[in-house]
Symmetry: C2
Subunit: 372 residues, 2 copies
């Protein structure tokens, strides 16, 4: 599924093309998150214009509302939401663990109560594949068990075993043509990560995700786990680090051979008033922007940066106008696509290492401290 060119400067970074039913995706790529079938505040046209070639939607949410059968009857998720490019759906496992009232997890599956109405449901590996196939996902994810951070070794070890068991059942249940990705678990235990990667690699799936990271552990630990896993995964399959969203983490992971990323950071931070810019993060509510006629990011070509001053954007947030969160989201989504484009160009030109060093020195050296 992935054809790629290795980085000529010796890192593990790869430049790839991923052919999917709804289109071809250039990697390394960043996938904006459209949890409930909408990249929050943006139209599909705006997401496409920002340069995104694939987005992530959520099996758990769409299963509950409006229901996968309803979406299937409407012609699939891409058609339903007006996004005529590829969609990756995560399995819903993470949301079952983090959002729903989890009643019981056995080898059979995960029982939970809906966060919407308290109704009882059970996700089995077979059901999550069926749901994702009904949605018409370009990439479907295996049901996994994703422990929180930190977690004890016995819990992490059991999650690795169950994740492998479930991956095997997902694989057996899938229809021909379904691009099913496995998810490597193992928390922050190097040998468990390696065990999980080997076990899943043996299933010969079309792609692999690294789950259970970016949950608050130190960056060095994240990078160490990613490195231990990527060297064990097949080189000709895409690798997806779930939930990594900080530019520095994305660049570090690309360097270790990761091809795909997703995170709520650009959309969530946009809504709460934090912009990612080429000079670092900007908290737009800060009073020092009150009379600033300059663009949010003079290096950006998005509609927000072309059309409005920081003073106006701040005003929108101060008075609570919905246009503020939307314009910052639009910018942030563009910023991440621009970043990935720059990464791809740097790899292509054999300059990834020098480019990333230059980017990081500029990105870290300024900007405002900003909470998430």
């Amino acid at each position: 599924m992935l054809t790629f060119t290795a980085d000529r400067t010796g890192s593990q970074a790869r430049l790839g093309k991923m052919k999917l039913p709804h289109g071809t995706v250039s990697t390394p790529c960043f996938m904006p998150v459209g949890t409930q079938g909408s990249v929050k505040t943006l139209t599909p046209a705006e997401v496409a214009e920002a340069g995104a070639e694939v987005i992530v939607c959520n099996t758990y949410h769409l299963y509950l509302r409006p229901g996968h059968k309803r979406i299937q009857a409407a012609g699939g998720l891409s058609k339903f939401m007006g996004w005529n490019r590829p969609i990756l759906t995560d399995s819903g496992g993470f949301q079952v663990y983090s959002l729903a009232a989890l009643t019981r997890v056995t080898d059979e599956g995960a029982e939970f109560q809906s966060h919407v109405d308290g109704s009882r449901h059970m996700f089995t590996p077979e059901l999550v594949v069926e749901i994702q196939e009904a949605l018409g996902s370009d990439i479907a994810m295996c049901l996994d068990e994703c422990p929180p951070y930190p977690v004890s070794r016995p819990v992490a070890e059991a999650a690795v075993a169950r994740t492998s068991l479930w991956a095997d059942r997902c694989r057996a249940a899938r229809q021909p043509g379904t691009n099913l990705f496995g998810i490597v678990q193992g928390a922050t235990y190097p040998d468990l990560r390696e065990r999980s990667a080997r076990s899943l690699a043996a299933l010969d799936l079309p792609g692999y995700a690294i789950g259970g990271l970016c949950l608050g552990e130190p960056s060095e630990v994240t990078y160490d786990m990613v490195e231990r896993v990527t060297v064990l995964l097949p080189t000709d399959k895409p690798r997806y680090l779930m939930g990594a969203g900080y530019p520095e983490d994305i660049i570090a992971a690309v360097r270790l051979g990761v091809d795909m990323f997703d995170c709520v950071l650009p959309t969530r931070n946009g809504r709460t008033g934090t912009a990612f810019t080429s000079a670092g993060r900007v908290a737009i509510r800060n009073s020092r922007h009150a009379d600033d006629p300059s663009a949010l990011d003079p290096a950006c070509d998005c509609y927000t940066c072309r059309s409005f001053s920081r003073a106006y954007l701040r005003h929108l947030f101060v008075v609570g106008e919905a246009l503020g969160p939307k314009l910052l989201t639009l910018h942030n989504v563009r910023f991440f696509q621009h970043l990935m484009q720059d990464i791809r160009t740097a790899i292509e030109q054999g300059e990834f290492k020098s480019w990333s060093n230059e980017f990081l020195s500029r990105y870290r050296s300024s900007g405002e401290p900003a909470g998430q």
Copy 2:
């Protein structure tokens, strides 16, 4: 300021062109409301694409936040908000009466406390003109006294007198080139309406608004008041019925010779899930839309109607996605611009009466009951 052609079929409807500093406006026109310097949920590009040639912003809100001097320093409101077409600002009188904690009204002006932080302020006729000139408004409104509905005759009579007094002071305070409109008051008392209209007409202002209507009184009363006023206003000046937003009210008022309209209905109803369509109003949350693949309004050419099904729009509202309110607002704003375009075409072709009868029979004959 207004050049117009009378309706050839004998109604008072007029087709006009209003030349303003930021551009020419075709009348009859509907002005979307951008209270705080933003037509809620929409970018200025979307408002322009919907066909709006002029919008209404609010002096009271912008005076409080971000402050008119800040906007003046930024180059004026049009530049500040990225809307390079005309802007009408209302005087803030209505908001002082309806929103702020009003402490005292004398002939000198209206004292009030900010609804934001409780700070004390006073709007005088001179100050509201100064604020609107600082904002760079294409059309500025006189400070008026706008009583609620219903109101006793003595209160209405005093408001008419004070409104005339203030209009005279606004006129004296304005800079050359400021397009200052007077506002006719008089509540639902025919003779007071006529007294107010005569008094303001004598000031020879560039345009006239009819205020203090569309506040809940029966439609027949509204129309009666409008008719009594329009016949007394100069024919060569634009007439603006403040707050009229229902298509049937707009059509009735155009027939009586009104040129300009504004209302929060398209934006507010859009945000709360009610769409105006060529077949009447649609409450998009209604479960009967859950599997409906058809467009919100098949007769509409907006992005929402071109791109999404009722089923998807309903989903967005049910799960609380910000895109839902935005897409319905976009449609509603376009619907009203489309309506005004059709009205103008009908007047131009000498078919306004037959067109409006046809429109109203179609518009009223279907659609869902929907609260505001």
